[in-house]
Amino acid sequence: MGAVQHSGADARLDEARRRVEADTRRRRRQLLAPTLIVIGVFGLFPLTITLIYSFLSPGVYGGVTWEFSTDAYVQFLFERDIFDDTLSFSGTYLSIYGRSIGLAFGATVGALLIGFPTAYFIASKPPSQRNFWLFLITLPFWTNLLIRTYAVLLIIRDEGIVNLSLQSIGLIDQPLTILYTDFAVFLGLIYSYLPFMVLPLYASLEKLDFRLVEAAYDLYATRFQVLRHVIVPMAKPGIVAGCILVFIPGLGAYITPELLGGGKELMIGNLIALQFGGSRNWPFGSAAALILMVVVMMSLIVYVRYAGKEGNSHG
């Protein structure tokens, strides 16, 4: 009899617990609502339009005509012969993607190599001074990216500070052609996105327990070994975040390659912009944008899975 009473109480307790859990779930959903609305209206909706447009035909004066076509995707890989309409493989656009990925990857590595010592330097300062250095890092954000890119342009052009000072100390006779090369784009990308690398790296390194570095020194690790076996693994979350934050915007960069690359060697961003402007091929522009997105998502999945494998062991 006691057991029966007991199970009755248990059932009521379970019932109450279920109700509380349902309440909690509902409240959590409500908290999520603003984000869902923003993502829906400004993210999914435009993306759907892009997806639809990529399967339509281009209008003569821009825009689209409502005729289904997969031409945009075909055009990405093949060239249509103007006379007999046969398709032949063309690597033009693939090479633009390849170049863009190469440049963005290079800029990411460059930003990591410059950003890591910077972040370590800031993290090793006394806490009272760190804000000052962080302030210096974020200072460029106070100016528009366009203006900053023009500033880089002025510095590296043939008559710019770099060339003039190199000439004046007699290191070179002729100005080095930096502007309107891949190297200029590479420099510009590093410069533009360096803070996105430094800040997450700093956030990781700031939490690094310096006593662990001492412990490693004590256990016969040289400076390089300490870096490799203790500091870098501990900073891994920051390295992953920084690389993602530099690589993705770098891949889709528009202003930097336009101004510093002279627009003659295209990056993906310029290719897409061109389709909505001069080329008046909105479906192809949409397709190019979607392909970029798929590339980014796939590389992210691969990267996070790879980086996460060792990062996970942080527990």
């Binding site: 006593r211 001492e214 412990a215 020194y217 004590d218 016969y220």
Partner: protein
């Protein structure tokens, strides 16, 4: 002054660490701090040596100088006859157990223990063997593949010990390693540390502010204060024959009497207590000038007696009795006004009881 009497523990008398005139200052100008001031010390091979003192006395700085985390401002440090004062930590055959353990959180227990050997470039099989041996030594075999943050404080302590012992250093430095543990675990680890030291035969240099810990574990103790070493000796010496007032005061309960010293001859003399009674006295150094000095008497070295007992050289009144299980501390107000503590395991007296105090045969004179 720091008396260093002949070793009677039967252990090797070879010096493992020799510090000569080591000074360490931090900061510049007005804010300059002498963490260590002209410290000389010798630590023998296979010895459990403790640096004991209050916080800020320089004991941790001395440890960090031996480890190589700090470089001496002046002076030499020799390890096994070789000058190491200016070598970086990774070139010294010395390992440290840190106060907070400083285990690598991104590595398993086993990899933590093998880290030192891995950095030395030892072979995989050698590392694996050493890890197994160390895990067995600290009884952690079952946790080899755990992450370190899944361990309790005591287990982390054992891993830290195993990690520091695995490369078989010449000296193991321990920086207050037990301070984060609760009392029961601390007692266990004290015995454990002692066992590890005798099993491995490695010289241990242990830093603590806990005098009981120091007395329990050490072969020898150096008592430090304000960047100086005041006294070095075996636990019994430090406890029974403190040379300095600070040492006497810092370690255990003690009664200090202001007395007159005369008949000085070498390291002995005779003191006159306030009541007029005289006692033979041991001096901490030869030829202490006669006159006003302090002597120290431990509470357990005095006995309560009847007030009329002729052997009782001091008389007073019981003011308080503090019971602590194994005995009682009886507070006695002397006729002169000062108060002393006498430890007794015998009958418990009432407050206000008139008592006599029987003093030890000899007393220890202190210098400041």
């Amino acid at each position: 002054m720091a008396q260093d009497t002949a070793d009677m523990s039967g252990k090797s008398a070879k010096n493992m660490i020799l510090a000569e005139g080591v000074t360490k200052t931090f900061g510049e100008g007005d804010s300059k701090v002498h963490a260590l001031d002209d410290v000389s010390i010798s630590i023998r091979e296979n010895e459990f040596f403790t640096l004991l003192g209050p916080s800020g006395c320089g004991k941790t700085t001395l440890l960090r100088l031996i480890a190589g985390f700090e470089l001496p401002t002046k002076g030499n440090i020799l390890l096994d006859g070789q000058e190491i004062g200016h070598l970086p930590p990774y070139k010294r055959p010395v390992n440290t157990v840190f106060q907070n353990y400083a285990l690598f959180p991104h590595m398993t227990v086993a990899r933590n223990i093998g880290f030192g050997l891995e950095m030395q470039g030892r072979s995989k099989s050698e590392i694996k063997q050493a890890i197994e041996k160390m895990l067995a030594l600290v009884q952690m075999e079952h946790l080899a593949n755990r992450q370190t943050d899944q361990l309790s404080g005591g287990q982390q302590q054992r891993v830290a010990l195993a990690r520091a012992l695995a490369p078989h250093p010449k000296v193991l430095l321990l920086d207050e390693p037990l301070s984060a543990l609760d009392l029961k675990l601390r007692k266990e680890m004290q015995i454990e540390l002692k066992r590890l030291q005798s099993e491995t035969g490695i010289t241990f240099v242990f830093v603590t502010h806990d005098q009981e810990e120091a007395l329990t574990m050490s072969d020898r103790i150096a008592v430090m204060k304000a960047g100086h070493i005041l006294q070095v000796g075996r636990p019994k010496q430090i406890y029974n024959q403190p040379a300095r007032r600070f040492v006497a005061d810092f370690i255990g309960d003690i009664n200090i009497f202001e007395v007159d010293l005369d008949e000085v001859s070498g390291t002995t003399g005779r003191v006159t207590l306030p009541g007029g009674a005289t006692l033979p006295a041991d001096l901490p150094e030869a030829d202490v000038p006669a006159g006003a000095v302090s002597v120290a008497i431990r509470p357990e070295n005095m006995r309560l007696a009847d007030a009329r007992d002729s052997a009782a050289k001091l008389k007073g009144t019981v003011t308080n009795v503090v019971y602590f299980g194994a005995g009682s501390n009886v507070h006695v107000a002397l006729k002169g006004g000062s108060e002393v503590i006498v430890r007794t395991t015998g009958e418990v007296l009432d407050d206000g009881h008139e008592v006599g105090l029987i003093l030890p045969d000899r007393v220890q004179v202190l210098v400041d």
